[in-house]
Symmetry: C2
Subunit: 443 residues, 2 copies
């Protein structure tokens, strides 16, 4: 029903060659705005007969909708004149207090004054990029990294340099080397963007023992850490790890959080916790971007946190997602041909799989969708074309039996690809093997 | 309660000189992000003893809150899984259909496919700037113009060139001259940003007879028109005028609309109607800015438009604001010393006043707030420091008797300023006199 942007059916009028009268008028940055591969998949992946392991949509139907509904009605009746009015660009104060309590659960001590509420953490990412990145600046990220972060940095004409991860997250020595190399090349890194916990897409977590070392490497190199942590509270087993921000100096990290995965993405409420001087600039940038966020959706989140047993709801989410993760891991073990490997995430939404030698996840996708299963090919998560050997599998949205069926279909497709390879020779790219092995090098 | 951004009390810790460790790291554009003078006023203007003629907040308490509350509850109960989930970056399709019906009321024929829903029309303004403006590019605007448009263009390091208005809006010949001059100077205009109807801040409307001529001037110069029309449906007398977009070619205008003034700003729902190729880029820019708008607030607006007698509500708003405008105009006539002039708006929220020779609205503001009345000095609405002779008076928020009292206080302050001037000589700036007289020249 909702037409997906960036997706055009072959007979759409837009496909016909038209003369764009404003062709020569766009900003240079507009040329770098790219449609994400994830989006382009949605039309296919949302056909009912397809098991989609592609999207990263949380399962909001697990929320008590009647309760949320009643809460919202009461809010508008009692506080409508505030909820429906313009708000401040920094965000509703009582929500900023609640946000500090949420962060405290993971060990972060922060003041509401240093929080800026944003339209999802995506907007926080955009505003940080806007405030820091000049054209040609370099952002260092994990390889692979969050797909929309790549397009956001590209929209400010920054360059992305990747640093490899292993099963314990980014390798501190490789990070130090990257900073050194970039400095020697005359383009020192400005930001280190990291999703250290239950990473999207790789599902790996930066080991607790590496975190101080990563901070130290960034401190030495004078690089600001941009820590993106939307999944931290969704741990299914293992020991909690503290966010980088919890053990860093106040000025060393801009921390991004979100209620999209712990409550509901449709409210579009996320935040940035930033050093005071950075916060001032983020507030100005937010004001010129949107004047203010919706006080209504902010107050809904605040009231939910203050009046509902949301810790219990979080437990419901965790149990549901754990079951789905386990269904996926079991099915992978059962159905994947030898030579396929995958990460085992302790939380979050994603498993990162690596195909047997010579297979290409991007080339395989049409065959997979014919077999009624969808995933995201790894290439979307690299800025440099790497990632063909990989695919991201999400276990957040379909129920366990559908996940098992999807993985079974995928196993068949991979087996057929192997047979093709053995008959016709190597068809795929032989790029870096990602988390399990020496990863792709810096571009 | 909500701390206003950009406003710091003198004893705030932020005021103490601190070393910003990221001082040399910001993007060049961050240096051009400016705190708006309007925002800085809010702390003072919101003191209960002050009559604020400063803000532009619509009077949302005139909405039937119980009805909105019930509608929202029902929406979450029935469509919660959609309303609380991620949506498309272009916006909810049924709302885009409704938006086309709203635009049709003013004579615009458009397809839902060419509409992009945004977080208030402010975000649409930001995205258009992002897609079109390289550093150093020039945007032509009316003088004065909407304050946040100035800061949005500044955030993309564009230059603003003003064109004078008279009581019938922008002067087409002056616009043509400006385009010629800018081209001759080697910095041709990229956009003409205009609020043609019930302008913020001047309250004037571009005369129907001038509209085709303005379009023609832009067409000849190859300049894209950015038409911002949040107040068009709030007309209190006189004949409706068609938006520029209604009589332009499909590719000539990017049109911005908003539900902030006709429904509720706290929902943050606005839109852009754009040529197809521009729309594609706006959707990509929206995706990298916020992933998607809130489907919840979009569905609230859509349902309101489809199920509520919103035309009747619009009548309620119109009658309420007409009464307030009349109260302001009556009070101005009664209390303003000779030599003061003002515009007579046929709709919208604002009256633009010009002080007697030699008076300075910015210098006068502290005296006015001591006398318990607030306004916005004209300087905020110019990119070039002009506007000291002017002030913007809003009649949207306080009830009629408070407006009358505020203008009475203001009249006293102006009379005292005149007495000071006559005793000590000219204290104010002698810049352009705005709409009533030959305006400020191009910078
Ligand atoms: C790593 C990461 N960062 C940021 C986001 C954006 O989330 P939101 O804007 O909904 O808060 C996502 C969403 O999937 C994500 O996976
Ligand atoms: C001329 C003009 N444009 C745009 C806006 C932004 O409105 P919104 O973002 O709430 O749609 C305003 C708000 O006052 C305005 O006066």
């Amino acid at each position: 029903m909702v037409r997906e942007p960036g997706v055009q059916s072959d007979d759409s009028p837009e496909k016909r060659p038209t003369l764009d009268p404003w062709h020569g008028h766009y900003a240079a940055r507009a040329a770098d705005m790219i449609a994400s591969e994830v989006r382009a998949l949605f039309a296919v992946a949302s056909r009912p007969e397809v098991v989609s392991l592609a999207g990263g949509m949380p399962n909001v139907s697990a929320l008590p909708l009647e309760v949320v509904s009643a809460m919202m009605a009461d809010l508008v009746t009692r506080q409508g004149a505030v909820a429906l009015q313009y708000g401040s660009a920094q965000g509703v104060e009582s929500l900023r207090e609640s946000v500090c309590e949420v962060m405290a659960l993971e060990g972060i001590a922060a003041r509401p004054d240093d929080v800026v509420v944003t339209c999802g953490s995506q907007q926080a990412l955009d505003l940080v990029a806007k405030v820091f990145l000049d054209p040609g600046d370099t952002v260092v990220t994990e390889a692979p990294t969050y797909v929309t972060a790549i397009s956001t940095f590209a929209a400010y004409q920054a360059r992305v340099a990747h640093v490899p991860m292993d099963g314990d997250g980014v390798v501190p020595e490789a990070l130090a080397d990257a900073f050194d190399r970039l400095r020697a090349e005359g383009r020192p890194a400005k930001l280190f963007y990291t999703v250290p916990t239950f990473q999207n897409p790789a599902g790996v977590t930066l080991a607790a023992g590496r975190r101080r070392r990563v901070l130290e490497v960034c401190r030495r190199a004078g690089v600001l850490v941009l820590e993106d942590n939307p999944y931290g509270l969704l741990r299914y087993d293992g020991e909690p790890v503290r966010p980088l921000r919890a053990d860093a100096g106040r000025d060393e990290v801009v921390y991004l959080g979100s209620f999209s995965k712990t409550f509901a993405p449709g409210l579009r409420v996320g935040w940035a916790l930033a050093p005071s001087a950075v916060r001032d600039r983020l507030v100005l940038a937010a004001e010129s971007a949107v004047l203010s966020q919706s006080p209504l959706t902010q107050l809904v989140v605040d009231r939910y946190l203050r009046t509902q047993p949301w810790g219990d709801q979080l437990k419901v989410f965790r149990e549901m997602y754990r079951e789905r993760r386990d269904a996926m891991l079991r099915a992978l073990t059962e159905h994947m041909p030898p030579g396929t490997t995958w990460t085992v995430p302790e939380g979050g939404f994603f498993v990162w799989a690596t195909l047997p030698d010579g297979l290409d996840a991007k080339a395989m996708l049409p065959r997979a969708t014919s077999a009624r299963v969808a995933y995201v090919p790894g290439t979307g998560f690299f800025a440099n074309g790497d990632g063909r050997a990989h695919l991201r599998l999400s276990f957040c949205y379909p129920p366990p039996d559908r996940i098992a069926e999807g993985v079974r279909r995928l196993g068949d497709v991979v087996a057929q690809e192997i047979a093709l390879r053995d008959t016709f020779g190597v068809t795929g790219a032989r790029d870096g093997r990602g988390p399990q092995s020496p990863g792709p090098e810096l571009p």
